[in-house]
Amino acid sequence: MFPRTTDAATLPAAVEPARAGTPAIALSRVTRVFGVIPAVVRVDFTVEPGETVLIRGPNGAGKSTLLRIVATALSPTYGEGHVQGFDLLRGREGIRRRTELLGHRTRLYEDLTASENLRFACAMHDISAAGVPEALEHVGLADVTGERVRGFSQGMRQRLAVARALLRRPPLLLLDEPYAGLDGEAKDIVDGAILEARTAGRTVVLATHDLSRGGLASRTVFMDGGRIVPDPLREGRP
């Protein structure tokens, strides 16, 4: 069951989406090497505004690295790209203003409460904190707003990270294995966030190897060995 729709009036206004007429993501021959180990190899990847794209692939396929390059957490070793119309290297701030990366690590402060973590995120993104109580209620954490994250389970932490993403309502939502360690209800909350973003016309890129969670995607790409390759499921291979 999806959570109820958030009342948009109490949440901060969304940042303007991609520059008109440009893809949400346009990567050209992007390569990322760690030491001598290539994690992403000559990837061409384009996502149009409003698309919900699923990136599938085994562990170590390069999905996380690709999403972190798109989010500007990593720079490409070679290649170039634009996200929301901004250059990957020269337009980092524009990309960061319009992108939220929800990754393996929740990026929360353990000695802050749930509410304080969200309020700090609001301060860092220069947005109003008025929507914090509602965002917490939205992900089922209304009863623990004043409790420190240190006592939270992995599922609760992930819910809080989703609440942080909901607060910002970014035009581009990047989700890296968002279902890892979550129970069924928490997975539904993540799906609810994806559905809400999709309904609002925002772009979502979701990387997962959980085959049961691809139903919300409008398109699927498959990665293996750092490259985008033909999907083995479509080709009749396991």
Partner: protein
Amino acid sequence: MILLRQAAAVAGKDLRVEVRGRYALGAVLPFAATLLVVFGLSLGPGRTLLRQTAPGLLWLAVLFAGVLASRRAYETEAEDGAMEGLLLAPVDKAAVFLGKAAGVAVQLVVLEAVVVAMVSALFDLPVTGSVGTLAGAFLLGTVGLAAVGALFGALDVSARAREAVFPLLVLPLATPVLVAGVKATALAIDGRGASSWLGLLVAFDLVVLAAGTLVYEHLLED
């Protein structure tokens, strides 16, 4: 204005984490106290020698405490990938640097008050000479130490590298603060002014704060 507001948010967050974690109280303060007692015992009971060496011991304790406090300020960022959150926030990274430095500086000021009281009691050191000069030396020295710690703490938040590299970078660079702080403190205890040493501390603070504001973003980026 946004920069100062965001710097205040970073400092407030760090101080809140610190108060709840009680790291300064539980680790840094006992370390500084132990350092002073051990040095005091090694120097023997001679009152004159203790009083002559007290300013140096006091600043050594502050310096090592500053290293520990700065390192701690970045350990909390490494726990659950929070540093990446700061990196990906569309915030002027100078705000993060200034906020980190301010958070460490507030901790150090509290710590210095305790350390000065301990030195005064243990080494029979009068701190009633030139109180203004003494306060100025500690205030300016604190800003310099906190800024150096905040700047180099960002170099690498991976635990292993931080343990080894951080003191090696910070301690040599903090030498001007140590020298000027010791000299100004000694002069202040004698009731004399120390404008030249305080001027050196001001210059050091301005250089490190300006450098940090300019280069911090480049230290954080991949």
